[in-house]
Subunit: 301 residues, 2 copies
């Protein structure tokens, strides 16, 4: 299958499953569910769940035979990770945080539903992510493996992962920070969840301990490269393509790679990380992931 076709197929499967997870009865709490859905279906790239499925496929040699069965096996975690990512964006965009009005070209959650409901929609998505993962683990024979996977995701999302990175990011505003701090922020705020997405795919496909380690490291590199590319796009990007206000990082004094090591060196860093990733992926024979990586690093939005 062609790369773009495969990318779109992954996206569709994920959207279909996310929709079905969000088909939940609501009555009094209707507005809350609506606010959660608004951000979940606001046009995200689905990068993290796609990485779960693609890494799963890469390790699952019998993928073509048991694909549909398998996806039902990994899907709860793929969807839960997208919910965790989405809640983090809702909270990040709040006036007390980045104070963003636009996200993917649409008004941010709090601009539509108000700050209070946006905070709760974020809380609701984080909590719901755990609910669907736990439900999945209960329905498996090898519950322990699944609980292990949930624990990995929880760690990557928590104070030693995404939330930790976000806290240091907030504290670093309007401060001169060094490369090690910005590296801490990017590794935790962005790369931890991207890395765990690939790890989860690998673990559930039965990859060896050594392979899971290699993929986890590769995921961190990919996450770092992805975030630096994001920082670059905030400077040179086209607002109509990124769906965000260009220069918004600068206007709220965000720490970024280009600000610390310059645009040229940031570009070089993205290229060198991408080359590393590609050479590791060569050994795993995954055309899709290699093309995805190139696609992400040359993207305009």
């Amino acid at each position: 299958m062609e790369f773009k076709e495969q990318l779109s197929e992954y996206g569709k499967i994920i959207n279909r499953n996310l929709s079905s997870y969000m088909e939940i009865p609501s009555k009094e709490n209707r507005k809350l569910i609506e606010a959660m859905k608004y951000s979940l279906f606001a046009g995200g790239k689905r990068l993290r769940p796609i990485l779960v499925l693609a890494t799963y496929d890469m390790f699952d040699s019998r993928a073509n035979n048991r694909r549909s069965e398998n996806y039902s096996f990994v899907m709860p975690y793929a969807c839960a990770i997208e919910m965790v990512h989405t809640y983090s964006l809702i909270h990040d965009d709040l006036p007390a945080m980045d104070d963003d009005d636009l996200r993917r070209g649409k008004p941010t959650n709090h601009r539509v539903y108000g700050e209070a409901l946006a905070i709760l929609a974020g809380d609701g998505l984080l909590n719901y992510a755990f609910e669907i993962m736990l439900e999945s683990a209960l329905n498996q024979n090898n519950t322990k493996t699944h609980v292990d996977v949930i624990k990995e995701i929880a760690t990557a999302s928590g104070i030693y992962g995404m939330i930790g990175g976000q806290a240091v990011d907030i504290e670093s505003e309007n401060k001169d920070i060094d490369l090690s701090t910005i590296s801490y922020i990017h590794h935790n705020k962005t790369a931890a969840l991207i890395s765990v997405s690939m790890k989860v795919g690998a673990v559930l496909a039965g990859a060896s301990y050594k392979d899971v380690k290699i993929i986890g490291k590769l995921g961190r590199d990919l996450g770092l490269a992805f975030q630096i590319r994001d920082d670059i796009l905030d400077i040179v990007g086209d607002e109509s393509k990124t769906g965000k206000n260009v220069g918004s990082d600068n206007s709220c004094n965000k720490s970024t790679y280009p600000k610390i090591i310059g645009l040229e060196k940031s570009n070089e860093k993205v290229i060198s990380l991408t080359n590393n990733i590609s050479s590791v992926l060569d050994e795993y024979n995954s055309t899709f992931l290699r093309e995805l990586c190139t696609y992400l690093m040359t993207r305009e939005s």
Copy 2:
């Protein structure tokens, strides 16, 4: 053991365990951990974890023999529930929500650490609660029972529990609402987590399905009575005892029982719920829980 002595002993064990859960290495994310600890150790009554332990003891006939072993078995869930409760208070107090400056006589989290870090400290506590529960489930032989317990807690905390109740509470501000809406709010925002605390204690002590059902219902009644008593204290309470600004519900147009059915009928409701609870507890022979119930319903803070 005397009631007050037992209450204080439960509280001490819980505080000791919460402290040890929060003894976590921190470096870059130091401020975030500090903010989480600030609210976790700001003088809470520890009602929910006490209910976990007390209900556990009530069903565990061999309590005196294996108490220390047993507590290590239920403690992760007792502490996690307190973390979930604490995160909800941090988010509730935010300017976008109830905009409270004081909680238990101390400045609220965002007054000390700023809104951004308060939001993240809340997120961090919710996420960390799942981390410690998952870690516990992984270390048990009967992982499925433990995953079931975590799932129950997740449901009680989520969009069909605490977060759902909080969302409807926010939406109902400045509106004339009826008794069924305020009942929905109290049952979900407050009673769901109190009820699940008792259920968790019962399940982990090996109580029968029928008993768990009875205790779950009793917990909902207790939660409702507790919240109505809270509403009453907001009107007639002594600020120096409650540690909150008296009348703060009224000033931000919160929906409360006294506002809808009057102070007298609210008091009657608390008394009738308390009597129901006591008569059920009579059959279980738990002096401590019966006294706790009376204590809660006559409390001044």
